[in-house]
Assembly symmetry: C2
Homo-oligomer: 158 residues x 2
């Protein structure tokens, strides 16, 4: 297991991506893929700007890492993401054989690691990965809350 400060350092990189999403008017979620202590995949939520229901931060980071390794399996790779993954992203994490998943804030609406539904802990599924939630949780949560607060203010003004 990595030292807490190393996990927080990687999560900091994912939070940087989430902030980039925020400034681009996208739900602020960021993700990175780490292989042998090197960041080989970076993603931030781009669903609106790219007209894509699948352009979640995790999906983009996983695709970038797959391109880098020239392999559809990300053996021995870790994924850091600022928000608990949804069903779709959890499926992609299983397909990619991500070794360890670290996430920030819990998502009680769509989280698939127990926040809403627990696919990560579903023993009947073929694949699993080590899951560690709540890394720099407050920072990611505050960013999301601020985003939706600004959205509401804008909506009320219009």
């Amino acid at each position: 297991m990595l030292a807490d400060n190393e996990n927080e350092r990687y999560m900091g990189k994912a939070i940087y991506q989430a902030k980039e999403a925020f400034f681009n008017d996208e739900v602020p979620v960021g993700a990175i893929v780490v292989y042998e202590k090197k960041i080989i995949g970076i993603g931030r939520n781009k669903t609106i700007s790219s007209n894509s229901p699948i352009a979640h931060a995790e999906m983009i980071a996983i695709q970038e890492a797959s391109n880098y390794l020239k392999n559809y399996r990300l053996i021995d790779c870790d994924l850091y993401v600022t928000l608990e993954p949804c069903i779709m992203c959890m499926g992609a994490i299983f397909h990619a054989r991500i070794k360890r998943l670290f996430f920030g804030a819990w998502d009680t609406k769509t989280g698939a690691c127990g926040g809403k539904i627990n696919l990560a802990g579903n023993k009947s599924l073929n694949h699993h990965c080590h899951v560690n939630g709540g890394i720099l949780e407050e920072e990611s949560k505050d960013l999301l809350q601020e985003f939706f607060k600004v959205k509401r203010i804008k909506k009320n003004r219009d």
Copy 2:
């Protein structure tokens, strides 16, 4: 509800894509997205050739349809796929707000409509779509079985 022969006609288009995948040495799964009786998204499994754990037929068809509609929501769109969708694709189907899902063969290993796990029927999730499985089931199933049979023969020869 569409007439059976219309559903079968659309599924035939998806099977054509699955055959293309077969001839490209990919697990033979194909998908199309239909909007107002027009095919606006086409996909076939490309996970190996594109080094991508997320390049399932459904994901590619959904992305193409989103590009066409310039929207991350595929309101009033139907998806036809030759194999029961996995967790990842089911998540994407929910995100895209696909209206009706039609699939061919059931998948007892990774299917997310009851074959392995039932996300389509999970009332606690926010989004749902009408699901109709078993359309031209035998044809898609035969194609998959033939693919894995050939794979085994090749493996034993090497």
